[in-house]
Structure formats: C-alpha cells, structure tokens
Symmetry: D2
Subunit: 402 residues, 4 copies
C-alpha cells in the first residue's frame, strides 16, 4: 500500500531551526545522514507505523527576504552546524523549496521582530481575520498542489513578547468575535497561525514560548474541529537538563537552596531575545519547572544573553547549591555546549511524525503525550523528563494497529 | 504499641561513612538536625510503617585502634563535614558506642587495608570458620544485650581487592566446605561477615564494591535461611549522575562517543584506593552502567585519585562528547563537589530502614527494589536511576498494611 | 628601638571584609595563624623595614548597630569563613574594639545603604562640613588616645551609587567651597572620609568602587597636605584573574572575541549590589581592564548577582571565546570559588603596611606602586597584574634604608 | 634589497602540527588568513627586521607513507581544524611540497612510533653515523636546490620514550665517539637530527619533549660550530596556563595544596602517548614548573589520555586547591578547549622567524630568550610566562639595527 503524503508547514521557514530541519529532512530522504538525534528513530518506536521520511513535504511562512540555501550556508560557515558536503547535495531541493514558502504576518509580533521583516510583509495592512484567511488559503493551496493527506503546522519563528492567556476570553465564540473586529485584534501572529490551522482540521505545534495555541479558547476550537495541537517551547538544552537533574535532587531528598543558569548564544534568536519584552517570555519558560519537580521553590536565576561570537552554539553554565545530610552545603555545576539548531531540528521532525500518527489514530485536542518535548507542556503538570517520556511510551504501546 | 528495637551493625564502624551515619543517627534521635538527604523521609514513604529513628541501636566491627569521637572530630576539623556544635552534643553517645564495637577481621582484605589494622586485629590467627563464628557471637551478644528484634549488618569498610565471584563454587554446600578447611579460605572479610549475618537470619547490605554477598552460593544461603541481602557499592556521586544523565542521551537518541570521568578525593578510602588492586574493584563498578543504559559501549575513562588536600570532599569532572543530528559533535561537562560521607551516610540509614521493613514484610533473598541505592545492584540489569526509583516506589505501594 | 604604633581606621568597620581583617590581625598578633594570603609577608618584602603586626591598632566608623564579635561569628556560622577555635580566642579583643568604633555618616550613600544604618546614624542631620569635622575629631581622638605615630584610613564599606568625578570641580579650593554650603553637598560619604583623613596628613586607601579620593580636587588636597592615597576597588577574585589571563591572550596574539563573566554571592555586599544604582559602579570597575590589556575591545558581559545561599563565597564563571591561527574559535572557561572576605582582608592589611612604609619614606600623593591591589588603580593605565606587581617590587628595591 | 630565502625543515613533516604550520605558512604567503596566533606579528616585533613569510621555504623528514594534502584534509574533516576553503586553495602548494620531503629515521624512537613508519623507513638498516650523514645530505641538497641562506630545523615529530641526558657523555668528543660505533648508538632520532643540523651550522629547535639537543655534549657541538638551538616542548595549552596562573598564587601568597590537571585528546600524538614509555616524557615536562614558580612543591597530578572522539581538540580540566588567609581552602578550576595543532603551528613559525633573526644577529648556543615558547626551556630556570616574555622583549630591544 502506498502511504499518503504529509505536509510539514513551518512558521519561520527560513530561521535557524527550520533551515536545519529542512536540510536534515532532505538529507534523511536522500540517505545522506544517520538517525542520530531523532527520537522517533529509537528502537521502541519502530513498530508503531510511523510515516517514513520520504513521504513528508515541506512548506511554510517566512517574514524575511532571504533564501533558504543562503540561510543554511550561513549555519555552515558561521557556526559549523551543517557539513559543507551534505549541504551541497541538498542545494537543488532547497532551491525548489522557495516556491512553497509564502510571506508571513507580523501582527502583534513586537517591533524587534517586525524590523527583521522584508518590506512587503512589513507594509502589508491586514486585520486579524484577513491574516487568518490568507494563511488558510496558503495552507489549502499547499495541500492541494502537493496532494497531501494532512498538514502539520509547526511554529519555529522568533519569540514574541509575552501575552497573558488569562487576558483573552475563555470561549472560542467570544475570541472569534474579537478577531472579527477591525485591526490587529488581541492575538499575536503565533496564535493566528494556530487558529488558521486548527480551524481547517490541521495539526498545530508550537515549538516556541510564544502564545500559539495556549489560550483556552483556541483549545476549544481544536476540540470542536477534531484537530489537535501541543506546545510549548521545545526542550532542547539547559531546561532539558534541569528536567533530568532536578528529579535526582528530589528523590535523594537533597535540598536545593539555589539554582543559577546563565546561557549565552549569538544567533538570530539571540538578537530577538535581546529585547527585554521578548526575553521575558523565554526566561519564564526556562524557570517554571524547578518548583514543580522539587515541591518547593529554591532561589533561581536564569539569564540568556546575546554574545555574537557564539553563533548558533548555546553554552549554559548551571550552578546548583544544595544541602544534604547534616546540613552541609555542596555544589553541582554543569556546562552545556550544544548547537541550538541541531538540537531543536530533529525534535521538530519527531513531533511532526508523532502528531501525524496521532491524527491517524483519531487523537484530538491537546496531545499531552508529547510533554517530554516541551519546556512548558500544555495541560501537563509533570516536568520530570523520565516520567514525561513514559507518557510517550505509553501512548505508543496503546496505539491501535494500523 | 511499643515498636521493637532494631540493631544496625556496621562493618568498618569508625570509618568516615560509619562515623557520619552514627553522628547523624544520634542527631536525628536528639532532634538536632532536619531530614535532608534521607530518602526514607520523603513524603511518599511516610505511610508505609517505617521504624522511627529512635528505635535503632548501633554497633559494629572495626579493625583500627581509634575512638569514634576522634574520627568524627577529624571529619569536622579536616573536612568541615560535621558541624562542631552538633558533634559536641553527640559526644556522650559516641563514647557509649565504644562498648558496642568489636574487633573485625582482616582475612583476605589485602595488605593495604591490613596495614591500617591495630596490632591485636593484625596478629590474630584464625580460620575463615573461626572468624565467622566470632562475628556471629558478637552479633548474638549485641542482639541479646540490646534486646533487638532484628539486626541489619551493613558493610561500610574499605574496598577490598577484587574477587571474581565465578571463581567460587556456585552452591552453598560446596562453598561451606571450603570455609571448613584450615586457613583463610577463598572468601574476603566482606563475605565472611555476610555469611555470618545471613546464616543467623539477619539482613546484610554491602555498601562497598567488595565481594560481600555477591557470590551465588551466599545468595543461596540467604534464601535457605529466609534472610535477605542486597548490594553493592552505594551510588552517591559521579555514578549517580551517570545513571541520571545517560538516560537523557539514550532517550534523545544522542550518540555518546566518549564519557570521561575523573574523581579526586583525599580521605582514608582514597588511601586504600591508592593500591591498584583495591582501585580496580572501584573503577569497574563505576564504569559498568553506561553500556547498559545506552545500548552500546562508548569509549569510557574513569579515574579516581588520591589528593590529600581534598579530604572527604570528592570532586568529579565528567566530560561527555556526543553527536546529534547531522553528526556534529557537542559537549556536556559537569563538576560535582560532594562530601563523600555526607552523601553516603543517610543512604546507609535509609537502606537499613527499608530493609528492616522488608524483614517485617517477609521479603527474603535479594532485595532488588533497593537497586537505586547501588552502583552495581545485584540481580538487577536496569541502571536508569528513574526506573530504579520506581522499583522502590512500587515495593512501597505494595506493602501489606501493618 | 621601639617602633611606633600605627592606627588602622576602617570605614565600614563591622562589615565582612573589616571583620575578617580584624580577626586576622588579632590572630596574627597572637600568633594563631600563618601568613598565607599576605603579600607583605612574601620573602622579597622582608628586608624593607615593614612595621610588625603587633604595632597596629584598629578603630573605625560603622553605620550599623551591630557588634564586631557577632558579625565575625556570623561569618563563621553562615559561610565557614573563620575557624571557630580561632574566633573564640579573639573574642575579648573584639569586645575591646567596640570602644574604638564611632558612628559613620550616610551622606549621599543612596537609599539601599541608608536602610542598613542604625537609627542614630540615619537620623543625624549634618552638613558635609560637619561630617568631615566630626570624622576628623574621631580620628584625632583615636590617634591621641592610642598614642599613634600615623593613621591609615581604609574604606571597606558598601559600594555607593556611582558619581562621575568629572561632575566635580577639578581644583581643591573650588570643591572646598561646595563643601561649605549647607546640606549634603556633592560628595558621597567615601569622599568625605577621604577629605577628612588627607586634610589631617593621614593616609587614605579606597578598597571599594565608591568615589573616595578619585576626584582630582581631592588628589590636589593630598599633595598640598603631603598626605598620600590610593584606590580603587580591591582586586581579589574574577578581575584579578582577568588581569592575569588577558595578558596571555595578548602576548600569544590570540584574538578574544567575547569574554563573559558571571558572579554570584550572597553576603551584605550582595544585598547592596542588588540595587542597580550601586551595582553599576561595581560592574564598570570589573569590565574596564580588558580593552587596555588586549589593545582592542572584545564583546564583554559582566554580571554580579545576589544568591543568598552562597553567603560570603563568591563563585565566578568566566567564558572566553577566542580565535587563533587560521581563525578557528576556541574556548577557555574558569570557575573561581573564593571567599570574598578572606581574599580581601589580607590585602587590606598589606595595603596599610605598605602605605605606612611609604609615609615613613616620604611618599606623597598617589601611591601608584600599589596598582596590583586594585581593579581600577588611580593614575595607572597598566592593568597587567605581572607588570603591576613589578611596580611594587621596584618601589621596594628603591626604598631608603631606615 | 632582496631578502634571502630561508629554509624551514620539519622533522615529522606530515604530522598534525607540521601540516597545520604548512597550510598556515602557505595561507600567509597567499594572503588568505590574518595573523591571529602569531607572536612575531605583535606590534612590538614589527621593527626588528624579521624576515617576511614569503621568503620561507618548507621541507622536512617524515617516517610515514602519507601525503601532505591528505593529512591536512583529515584535520579539516575529522577535527574542523582547517577551513575547507583555505585548504582547497593550498592544495597545489601542498602537492609540490611532496618533492621536498625525505624519509626520516626511526633509530631509538621506540616501538610505538616505529609501527607508524612506512616499510622503507622501518626496514632501513643504518648506524647512527649513517643516519646523521643521510640527514645532512638531505639538508644540504635542500639548501642548495632552494638557494637558501640558512635552514632552521624544527622537531615536531611524536614524543620518543624518555632518555636521561645524564646517561650520556658530557663532552662532544666523547659522544661523537659513541656515534661512530656500529649500531644505533645511545641517541634517539630527535638528537641525531639535532647533531646533523648543528654540525652544519644550521639552527635546531625542539618543539617536543624528546631529548633533541638537550644533552650537554650537543650544546657543546652547537657552540663549537657557532650554530644555535633551543627547546624543549612547545608550551601551547594547559602548561601555558600553569605558567600564567601559578605566579598569581605565588604573588598573592596563596598556598597551593594540590594542582590536578587532566588532559584528553585523540590525534596521532595521543596514540603515541598511549604507550607509557612515551607518555612519561610528556607528563614530566608538564609537571616541572609548579615547584619552581611557587617555591615549594604542592601535590600534583597530571594525566594525558587518548580519547579518540576528541581528535585534535585537547580539553584540559585543572583543579587548584589552595588556602588563603586564616587557612580556609578555596578552589580554582579551568577548562581549556583548544585545538592542539592550531595552537602549536603558529609558534613553530614564530620560533623559526625569531631564530633566523638571531642567526643574522650572530647569536649562538642556547637561545634562552625563546623560553616563553617552551614547557621546559633549556638553560632557563624561570617558568613565569610574563617574565619569560620579557626576555623575548629584551632581546628584541637589544637587536642591532640591520
């Protein structure tokens, strides 16, 4: 039986994560690389009927006037992220991809992101409703042209300034009315894309700390339309380590007095996070889990700073100060030197693959079993990575044979 | 109902771990310290009928001619392990303890440990059988004098040179015959204590990498006598972290190319490990788990070296070199600065408490549910700390109400 | 020949640095401690006629209502800075010291420091002139009562908000007129103490980033009165390391692209630096030297944050990203775990001792040969620690025999 | 005036350091790279008449059957040492270089190095005298064909097993007689090359811990022939840092209790050092300086281990445990992640350039002013890098104008 073709639609389609995911997918399809870093390639997920890489087709929205290949080349030359030989073999596919990328929207993304946009995108005047409809037209055209059985939309764009979900109406019908008003409305771009996708029955994943589908009303829309979504903020580096290490302190009854984490990096994400409004959303997301895992709140400090020379390489230094038996303070420190895009990109592909399988399985609403992929998993209180991973394993074991 | 009194019998009763456990137990009984570092004090173990600290009585074997209080004082003055104020309040109890400590045996402990022993112990001539009988006489006298319902023997003495369990007869009756021969026989001291305890129906725990009860024949003895045992090598620092961190690399499909761990410390344990024969047993124990957790064997290097100025503070630097998506190498490093005795001592007390509860529950043979406490848990292939801890939780949930 | 008695007058006489210097001096006078950490005890300074420790007498100003012994005890119990046994032997001297400590002034110290002050100090109404005269009366009384040949005033109080020296008149006569006006005038407390001391012919040292004697007009006063001064900001930890390490990169022509330094600590100094106004003075002082040493300005980031559990222990993580031959980026990182007071206190005593010797030698004005002790040495452009130390050695070699 | 052409003759001409130096020199000659990492390009050495890069010509001895370009390519692909674009532009020059490389000798290099050699080199039977004469013929042919005014021979080959210089005759005439005997004689290959070069009046530099010209008799030969030499063991990474940092502890009178340094790397040098005989020479060289700088011997531990995945990247973790004022222990740690070849190669070129200038200046015998480049500078007791660098500066200032 010929399997169906599945669309991956990336918001921020030429950013670092998207470029790396794109080159990676092409390289997988061409058999140029091994499967390191891909969760869905672990032995335990080989019998659950995941769609093979070759059946996926990429497209997306982008606000900048750049070319995919140039962005990927920059990751190679500035940060040694992508091997030059592999990249050369992917060039023709990257050039073809240009035709499947549409201009995005900068509604409510804040001035720092706005300034990155090309003139056409920046000068476009549209209401929230018009933006949604434009996005939906793009998605439908993509699905039709490429003969896709399903589309998974993934937000991998820059972090927007924080929006408090509680400031929005809790019901979809009320939120929908606000969207109909003239002007940009209350939703940031990440949520407009979410509404557009979920309303069409497509899946939506938010790999960033932006609002996306985190509003209750948007979750209601997803359930009404039998679509599915999950988020938010991919757990790739320092926070992943926190969700691994904090359980050790908890289970050994070691009292964490303070946990300090300093992060430095230098890619475009760093430029956006240099704006305090955008940074706050990120820092909150990185700092949330310790209290839940430990059962009390130690003093915490999280910084994330732009250091240009680091490029795509994120270095984190964490200092954990704790007391043990008889009250004596001890110290644990780690230094993480990871390449942001290389850690994020495979998870994006994994999430799409698991979500597509959930679509075939009839799962709707929040896909909580994907919690282990996110810093702030929607609807999931558990932050222990080991226990989150067991949710994924349990879902996989329970899948109907297909 | 008055609860029964329970004996804790420490082999190596005046070493660093034992001294810290002793001061800690006294301090707990006097209400001088909080419960930090004690696993059995976690909320989830409060409803399973563990025996309160005040019901435990300490005794033990020791080969050196030193006083408990002096050893504890040295931990205070040389390594700031124990608070001076707490120690002063425990002095009278430590002095009383002297009467419950008996001379140990140095049969087959190797020359480095032998040299630590006092003249009486070093010059004693006894066969393996005589040593076992002497130990049993000590244990029975302890139980009788202190009116104890049960005794848990814990080996916290220095690491003996490695003995290959496969070199011993697999059946108890055959091993027992060897013990009857004249001379020291094939078993190191740690195993003679194990035989002595298990034969009496007492519980035996091996917190060290020494052989202890790891021989199949000794396990058979335990099952025949309805006694229980577990080991070996307490998981307190660098190896604990490996058993926490390696699962992250495995579950994210990140390929570990090499894992280097260098440990430095300066206490008496360090002096003993300065002998290559003794060190080998330790290093093997620290290096075993990565292959099991990862599913393949990366290049590994483990060193543990004596640096006198460090005293009881063990510092470990671990360097993990791994590849992710698209094959690019990345690096994770950690630095652990822990106080060996403070990390080990509460686990000794926890192990005793859980084991005593298992005794009341009728558990016999290997107590596999204690796997999370050990670097090389007997009879347990699982090395992922999170999964090991779930074994402890499952045991606790399944306990008969008492 | 009986040597003269010399006064050490500490501004912030009960703070962490002062308390440690005080206990240290007493311990040196009683022969309780060795000379570790004391520069003036190096072999090369043994033939230059430095005054022995027993000839120094302590006094000072303090704004808080606390007792010296209690502050020292807190350093012992909270941060294990001072050994309990040593401290006990110094108690009676610490109690006697109370009589030689006078209430300080909080003129222009900023609200964060003001809030630390006792009611008497906080509520005192005095003009700048009155404050100077009160301080001078205290100093003269100290010198008279203790029969002192000379007094060295050292500022070890909390960091004041930054004052731009360029905002002050450059000539002493003009500044002096401003002091005569009613009200607090333009000078922060650190400078009022400097004026008071230098006007009397005493020596003044500024161990903090506060303004102190850094104004040109105050230097003129010092030269007019034949007194001497130096500052500012003691170089004790991370910045010391920068002044050691940056020359290596310079001399090997390795290009530093970025230098990130994160500092955490938890003492009272940390509380004061939690106020952004006060912090700015500190950060500027820590960040100045790299450009001078390297000859170009790399991207730098310096943070210093209050983490309460750290107490007096300052931990710094520095990440240096540099390129070498053929342009490939490399990394150097260090972690410094030092006890702030223990690193600063001996330097305070050394500075006093060298300054007193300079007084006998007839040196006046800026004591530039003390540059190696300061983050921002007044009047000295050289920041390479090795070269700065040679200035001290050269001064010592050139001393007239006495 | 046209400047003379100068030969650089590399022993180990296709190893990692040599390959990097070669590509680097070609890239400098072609203007492809900036001068980062080159000491001789510092502003202070621009007026002393150093020979420009374009006047240098490369040649050398090699024992392996490999091609220069392939070795450089491996540094690019395995360790990202050399940029692919730069390398491609140097290929034709690398290919031409093949004609100027001659088979080396493996006399007394130990079995580990011997096994690396090609069949021709390994099977050659020659006495020490024959080897010297063959080397001299190669050097003379090189000088003649390339019309060279002078040749500087630099040993950058693998580390030989240690030879005790004291085991050799102290006078050249006695050593010369031993060389005349049949068989390999007492000298390792590194010394045979030294003798060959110095006897011809050429310069010899030993960048490795091998014996080279360190024997007193060979120094006598150099002085007799008016030739010049220096060594040994290039100071590129961890030891450089020790020579920078130890002076700080000394000058602040901080007592170093222990200094632990663990090094890991994975290039061919690492394979050779895996042989304990070869490793000992290296470790001794890395460990020598602390006692000299500090004035006392702390406990030290130096390890250097082969971890294949690291390739040419050497990571060092150093842990310094020291006491300061009042005896409290503190800790300094650093992590150095440097690329061995990239750090060594520019120093090789600098050394050649300075040595050639010394030749024109008429300097003969030991070139002590080059001490800052070496872990164990011959004839120089000073190990403080800052002071060693001043020796270089002093030499440069004293040069006769040319």
């Amino acid at each position: 039986m010929a399997r169906a073709r599945i669309g991956i639609w990336l918001i921020g389609a030429k950013g670092g994560v998207a470029s790396t995911a794109t080159v990676g997918l092409i390289a997988l399809q061409k058999g140029l690389i091994a499967n390191a870093g891909l969760v869905s390639e672990l032995p335990e997920f080989q019998q659950i009927g995941l769609t093979p890489w070759k059946n996926f087709v990429l497209g997306g929205h982008e606000i900048r006037d750049v070319r995919s290949y140039d962005e990927a080349l920059r990751l190679h030359s500035e940060s040694r992220v992508i091997d030059g030989g592999v990249l050369a073999k992917c060039k023709s596919e990257l050039d073809k991809l240009e035709g499947r990328i549409r201009p995005g929207t900068v509604l409510n993304v804040g001035s720092t992101i706005e300034q990155l946009a090309g003139a056409e995108v920046r000068n476009r005047r549209e209401s929230a409703r018009q933006a949604i409809e434009r996005v939906q037209a793009d998605l439908k055209e993509f699905a039709k042209k490429e003969r896709l059985a399903h589309v998974v939309v993934v937000n991998v764009s820059s972090t927007e300034p924080a929006v408090d979900p509680a400031s929005l109406p809790a019901r979809w019908k009320d939120l929908n009315k606000l969207i109909d008003k003239r002007g940009p409305g209350p939703l940031p771009a990440s949520s407009l894309y979410a509404v557009a996708a979920l309303d069409l029955g497509y899946s939506y994943l938010n790999f960033t700390p932006s609002l996306g589908s985190a509003a209750a009303a948007i979750d209601e829309l997803a359930r009404e339309r039998d679509s599915r979504h999950m988020g938010h903020d991919g757990k790739t580096g320092e926070t992943l380590l926190k969700s691994i290490l904090a359980p050790m302190f908890a289970k050994r009854n070691l009292q964490v007095m303070s946990w300090v984490g300093h992060n430095i990096f230098g890619n475009m994400d760093a430029q956006v996070l240099d704006d305090p409004a955008n940074k706050q959303a990120k820092v909150t997301s990185k700092d949330r889990l310790l209290g839940q895992i430990l059962g009390y709140q130690p003093q915490t400090l999280v910084s994330i700073e732009r250091i240009d020379s680091m490029g795509d390489w994120k270095t984190a230094w964490d200092h954990v100060h704790f007391t043990g038996f008889l009250g004596t303070p001890m110290t644990f420190q780690f230094i993480w030197q990871g390449c942001d895009s290389l850690l994020a990109a495979p998870l994006v592909l994994d999430l799409v693959r698991f979500t597509e399988r959930a679509w075939r399985n009839g799962d709707t609403g929040l896909l909580k079993f994907l919690a282990s992929f996110f810093k702030s998993p929607l609807g999931v209180a558990e932050h222990d990575f080991g226990l989150q991973f067991q949710m994924l394993q349990a879902w996989a074991s329970g899948l109907k044979a297909m």
